[in-house]
Amino acid sequence: MDLLLARVIEGVNNGAIYGFLALALVCVYRGTSHLNLAQGEMAMFCGFLAFSLNQAGLPVVAAIAVTVLAGALGGVLVERTLIRPLGEHAEYSVLLIAVALFLILNAGAGTIWGGDPLPFPSVLPSDPEDYLPVFGARLRYQPLLLLAALLTVLGLLYALFRFTKIGLAMRTAASNPEAARLLGIRVSRINALGWMLAAGIGALVAPLVAPSTTLTTSMMFNFLIYACAAAILGGLDSPGGAVLAGLSIGVVENLLAGYVPWVGSDLKQGVALVVLLVVLMVRPAGLFGTKRVERV
């Protein structure tokens, strides 16, 4: 029982990372139907940025805050200079740009900060004895913070979409870009805003994850694969779906690794993706994706 709980908790901890990155993927995908493969590297780069700011004397929380702002600006910059000029219906060009961005950021971070893993300070105490005991299992503070941050961001996004005029414009543009333009909505700005949100979210994830993974140029690679899976499972345009799918994948994968002997830790990624495949065969639009509602 204790072991089960511990495995679920660990699954949730990992799933929160998947869900967080998936949320960022969804922010871009909703507007433009582009899956930003460089999302993980953008986040990683921001992690290093936060490290340098912290080294320069900023307290870790302030360093993270500045990084989130810088990341958001960087997202707008990427959209304006690399994505927007390609025009509409440029799916393959955007895919190539994303791969290029992936490689540039990866190599860039390696050049600037070197190839060795760097330690990143945690926001909350993370010594071995810092935990909340729950039925014999251990809830650690930093993963709890990550989960809380995830749910907060999700709540803020929901409120943005639901209750604000700019959110209405974002939903309109996502559903029917041309009709949106005819209503006076500047769709290209909405898309830039999507990139801004995504990059800002990525910039928040990396420094919160880094204390447990250490800072390396490959820290986000595995997470991004899971995040893509979570975003797809969640339906690609549903923030809540992405988060729930991320958490579910984390838990399912961890339970499979723990209880199915031949899976172990080597095969767990593959098995998690097979589960995803099976779900998508039953529900092609994902668990929470918008089924195209159209009557003719």
Binding site: L168, R181, L183, G184
Partner: protein
């Protein structure tokens, strides 16, 4: 002075022009119909007016040259466009569709105007929390028109509003367009393939043939013209 005036407008997609020197005008408060066969360029003409496709020549609305403006900057000048077919924003509720229609407005009367549309079209009121994509074809067309009018335009462009509707619904639709025109004073430029009803509410009509347009004629004259009847009215 005309509310809208096009002078030798060329427009099209990428390499090829679809419209070759269009001259056309709509006066304030007037209903004008454009008749044309499939592929004549009717939809492109409306898209050129509202800025969705690039155009050359001169498009003057309300005394100002809007030829160089993109679509999203034109609606706030008082020109609304109901696109062909799936004009509704399918994933949004009926209510959000209307709210999005008022995107350029910042006055306090938006809620009141939405209520007014629910009275005009009770079906929309009943289904205000449903996704627009689930409405019937007729309801979606009503919603698209109501949404466009939420921006309080002075000119409404309608692209084949009767497409896919039953004869009865088409009649109802043109009845409400006529009411919009007489009660709100909104000028309407409507493009139609089957134009009997459109000619009945219009003052004037243009014939568009493979990207060129002839000078307008009174609607009654067009409706009585044997050649027009054979080509566009189907009787």
């Amino acid at each position: 002075m005309s509310l809208l005036r096009l002078s030798t407008v060329y427009a099209g997609y990428r390499a090829a022009d679809v419209l070759h020197g269009i001259d056309l005008h709509v006066d304030a408060g007037e209903v004008v119909v454009i008749l044309g066969a499939n592929g004549a360029g009717k939809t492109t003409l409306l898209r050129a007016i509202s800025g969705l496709v690039r155009r050359r020549g001169s498009v003057v609305f309300d005394g100002q040259d809007i030829t160089g403006l993109p679509a999203e900057a034109i609606v706030s000048r008082g020109l609304a466009h109901v696109p062909q077919g799936r004009g509704t924003i399918a994933d949004l509720t009926v209510e959000d569709n209307l709210r999005a229609g008022a995107y350029i407005r910042s006055d306090k009367d938006v809620a009141r105007d939405m209520g007014a549309w629910y009275e005009v079209y009770p079906r929309l009121g009943e289904r205000r929390r449903q996704k627009a994509g689930l409405l019937s074809g007729g309801e979606q067309q009503m919603l698209a028109i109501a949404r466009a009018l939420m921006s309080t335009p002075r000119l409404l462009l309608c692209d084949e509003p009767s497409l896919g509707l039953s004869p009865l619904l088409t009649q109802e639709l043109f009845g409400s367009l006529e009411r919009v025109n007489t009660e709100l004073g909104t000028a309407i430029l409507v493009v139609e393939q089957n134009a009997k009803l459109a000619l009945r509410i219009a003052a004037r009509g243009y014939l568009l043939e493979t990207g060129t347009i002839a000078p307008s004629r009174p609607a009654a004259e067009l409706a009585g013209d044997d050649a027009v009847r054979a080509a566009y009215l189907g009787y």
